[in-house]
Amino acid sequence: MSEVLSWTLHVAVALVAAPLQLGIINKTKAWFAGRIGPPVLQPYYDLIKLAQKDSVFSTTTTWVFRLGPVVSLVTALFAVLLIPLGTASAPVSFTGDLVLLAYLFALGRFFTVSAALDTGSAFEGMGAAREVTFACFAEPAFFLGMLVLAKLSGSLRLVDMLGTSATSHWGVASASLVLVLLSWFIVLLAENCRIPFDDPNTHLELTMIHEVMVLDHSGPAFGMILYGAALKLFVFAALIVRLVLPTSTGMPALDWAIFLAGVAAVSLAVGVVESVMARLRLVHIPTLLVAACLLSAFGVILTMR
């Protein structure tokens, strides 16, 4: 019974807290720019509004265009089930679940990109091509980081790799973990299309990645995309928080508080990066992503002694 309760809490926190991150990021950027900015809860208002809005579909599109938002939201939801959040447990856990986590996002990407190309628009084609190109660097970086955690924890379950025993790893392999942290933060920015990879707020279709792929989506379907993106950001933030703060105080309430504070801190960090950096030129993005791979690869080599 308590298990069911804790799983419900797990899912509920993710579902409720995910959009808040976008609010925090935007508020941070507003502070840096000296503006008041939209309210922190603005993403929730947007989602509610979108769910009630009418839709416009391009006559070019087929069922693939409608399937895209559904798959991207469902895969993000399933990813939430796999990762430990406030406590070192997850509703679904089995040996090798980290592979499923990575491949769920790949499945979401497959359909998001296909939906984008379904419109027959060159803008959306550009975004789609960029998305799949950059993923080719982000995925190896993610797996290299996972290799470090697998070596340190001696397990292939996310709940162990990012579980309470992980605290001791900081004592023995802090150098590796710092490298993985840096690498994964870059992956977080790339996978969630934040600056310096992509500017979610730009108005220029020619330079966008994620936003340009969903130009033609509207109404409830667009709401699903937005919510799926928020959940994806939440999952990546959770990975980083569990990497840095795999603590267990014995009091679940405190654990959750620490975790949520961590997620807020990651959002803040994303907001700061977005405020102090400009978007990179597209040709330089692969270089940064290769750097992310190499950081993790050095982390792996450091654990190989």
Binding site: S58, V74, V99, G120, S121, A122, A129, F143, A150
Partner: protein
């Protein structure tokens, strides 16, 4: 019992096309007789395999055979059975598909020939897989190799087809030559041509190295491992699509079968064997998908993906071999099960993709991806089935490709986990390569699916396309259902895979862990089912919401430009341009870029292609040079008999003086 059924199947399938020769070229009756016979044969063969798995009804057969040193020794074991099932299944479905795709009425000049060799190639493959004598193996191998040559050159009036056929023929003969040497070597160690485990006292360092080098060369040429893949893209592209499906799905796996069988004969292989195969697998996997990205011929692209998937299979085999050398039983189970399952999976989804591609080609008469587009509206069933194949080949959940890649990921991760010797920890980097291959495959298949089926038609080819009939869609649907079944219920696989592993390493069979103990197959199955259900629920929910709100239709957004044309869409080449240019150091793409230097330039063309490095840049120039050098010798050849008599006299004189 299984052996008898399989042999009966081989006999029926082999003669299936012969009867058709008696009918006139314009008569459709021949194709139905041939297909009926081939189907009966395949079903009998599949029944034999089911009997093997369900009732363990294997009784090796050993008939006397008049060939010196040869025995008609036939047996079905765990490995043979795994490789036999795709042979019969894909052949059965391909035959049915061919009724419509290559109807006798539409192809009176080569329909009968195609059916004759389709049966023979199937029979040859089945024979070599069950053979337990290397001479019998070679008989099956050559029947397969030569029948495949006639299948590739079905349309031999076309120069390109003939050239692809010659390249294939040269490669397959080279492979056979290696196999002659390989089996002669094995005979010197065992004392007979029977394929049995090599006794430890016969194994020396040079012997091992020679056997391995010959096996990799001979079987690697057939399988299409990266530097040896030169025949593969051309042959797959030029053959009729259901032939490509059989070749890519099944025939190249015979090379893998050979590698698996020969390595199974060595209880203590050197670690280098596994390392070499792992390296070759990585090269094939990454470069195969990289070359695929640069292609814009639908079937050449799929052919390069075969190279990629062969690479993944070889990576798994390499891991299993290293496990056998280092006594790491979990590596053996995960690596070999991953490889063997990927043999099945690739047979299923690649045949599905080739048959769907054939459906597209049948309807549009072009293989050029950039001439297609918007087919999802005109051919919805083909589009849906191609999508299933595309998701499966990318190794994405909830389909079958994910299960085999998952096993390999688990295997590579576990080498890092408890590795006693840190030197072998670097094997774990193979997991990263597998992730890279997966991401590149997603890029490539999104490109194909979207360019062919989504957006709007880029030419009149696809504008007037019509959906294929059930004779073609039915076999594709069966393959798609198989992909889905393995993805949703992988719990049933240990029944098949554990026997395969035991047959590969019989001497340690009892100590090996079961697959179900090392891999969470039931969790994977449950998650896959849940994922499918969730996607269905989500789609219904979105549908209900869209019904409740107003939905209107308009043009695609083009910055308020209201007259978008199909030519404004991203093409497959533009989609892949970024990745191809990042990989330009390896792929060496050729682009013909117009130079614009006037204010009002005339209309001009841009084109880009990625030629094959091995064939177009290596082998063909080398052979041209060799042919030129040989042509220098022609001065000796005047055609006058007197001169030739002088040569003979001079030679005799020289021999006499020399002695």
């Amino acid at each position: 019992m299984s052996e008898q059924l399989v042999l009966a199947a081989i006999a029926i399938v082999a003669v299936s096309g012969v009867v058709g020769l008696a009918f006139s070229r314009s008569s459709a009756a021949g194709q139905y007789v041939a297909t009926a016979l081939a189907s009966v044969g395949s079903v009998v063969g599949i029944a034999g395999l089911v009997a093997f798995w369900m009732f363990s009804s294997s009784r090796p057969i050993d008939y006397p055979w008049s060939v010196p040193g040869g025995e008609f020794a036939v047996a079905v074991d765990g490995l043979s059975a795994i490789f036999l099932l795709p042979v019969f299944l894909v052949s059965l479905l391909g035959n049915i598909y061919g009724l419509e795709y290559w109807a006798q009425a539409a192809h009176p000049e080569n329909g009968r020939k195609l059916r004759l060799f389709y049966g023979l190639v199937t029979a040859g493959m089945a024979l070599l897989v069950v053979a337990r004598n290397s001479l019998l193996f070679l008989v099956g191998w050559e029947i397969m190799a030569l029948a495949a040559f006639f299948l590739v050159t079905t349309e031999d009036h076309d120069r390109e087809v003939r050239e692809a056929g010659w390249v294939y023929l040269a490669c397959t003969h080279t492979a056979t030559l290696c196999l002659f040497a390989l089996f002669a070597l094995l005979r010197s160690a065992v004392g007979s041509f029977s394929l049995t485990s090599i006794p430890a006292e016969a194994v020396t360092g040079t012997f091992e190295t020679a056997v391995f080098a010959l096996a990799v060369l001979g079987f690697g040429l057939k399988a299409g491992v990266m530097p040896l893949h030169l025949w593969l893209p051309g042959a797959h592209a030029m053959a009729p699509s259901h032939v490509s499906a059989l070749m890519s799905g099944v025939l190249i796996k015979m090379g893998i079968y050979g590698l698996v069988r020969v390595t199974s004969l060595f209880p203590h292989p050197p670690v280098a064997w596994g390392a070499v195969l792992l390296g070759l697998g990585i090269v094939s996997g990454v470069l195969g998908v990289a070359y695929a990205l640069g292609q814009h011929d639908l079937k050449r692209l799929l052919a390069y993906h075969s190279v990629e998937n062969i690479g993944i299979i070889v990576m798994g085999l390499g891991l299993a071999l290293m496990g056998r050398s280092l006594n790491r039983y979990d590596w053996i189970v995960l690596g070999l099960c991953g490889a063997l399952l990927h043999v099945w999976n690739h047979a299923l989804f690649k045949s599905l993709l080739f048959l769907s591609a054939g459906s597209v080609i049948h309807a549009t008469h072009t293989r050029e991806i950039d001439h297609l587009g918007g087919l999802a509206k005109r051919m919805p069933a083909t589009a849906g089935l191609f999508l299933i194949g595309a998701v499966a080949i990318c190794g994405l959940p909830p389909l079958n490709g994910f299960v085999s890649e998952f096993l390999l990921f688990l295997g590579f991760f576990s080498t890092f986990l408890k590795s006693a010797q840190p030197a072998y920890g670097s094997i774990a980097f193979a997991a990263t390569t597998l992730a890279l291959i997966g991401a590149l495959a997603v890029a490539c298949f999104v490109k194909v699916f979207a360019t062919v089926f989504l957006g709007t038609a880029r030419s009149t080819h696809s504008d007037q396309a019509r959906e294929s009939t059930y004779a073609m869609l039915g076999p594709m649907a069966v393959l798609a259902a198989c992909c889905l079944t393995i993805g949703l219920a992988p719990q049933g696989l240990p029944l098949v895979l554990d026997r395969g592993v035991n047959a590969w390493a019989p001497e340690i069979g009892a100590q090996l862990p079961r697959l179900a103990e090392v891999a969470p197959l039931s969790s994977l199955g449950a998650m896959a089912v849940a994922l499918v259900v969730a996607i269905l629920v989500g789609s219904v929910a979105l549908g209900i919401r869209l019904r409740a709100t107003a939905v209107s239709a308009t043009n695609t957004w083009s910055c308020a430009y209201m007259q978008p044309t199909p030519r404004m869409q991203y093409t497959s080449s533009s989609f892949a341009q970024m990745l191809v240019s990042l990989l330009a150091q390896v792929l060496l793409p050729i682009t013909n870029r117009p130079r614009i230097n006037t204010l009002f330039p005339a209309s001009t063309r841009f084109s880009s292609e990625v030629p094959d490095a091995v064939l177009d840049r290596g082998v063909l120039p080398a052979f041209r040079l060799a042919a030129w050098l040989m042509s220098r010798l022609r001065v000796l050849q005047h055609g006058s008999i007197q001169l030739y008599l002088l040569y003979v006299f001079a030679t005799l004189l020289w021999l006499l003086l020399w002695k």
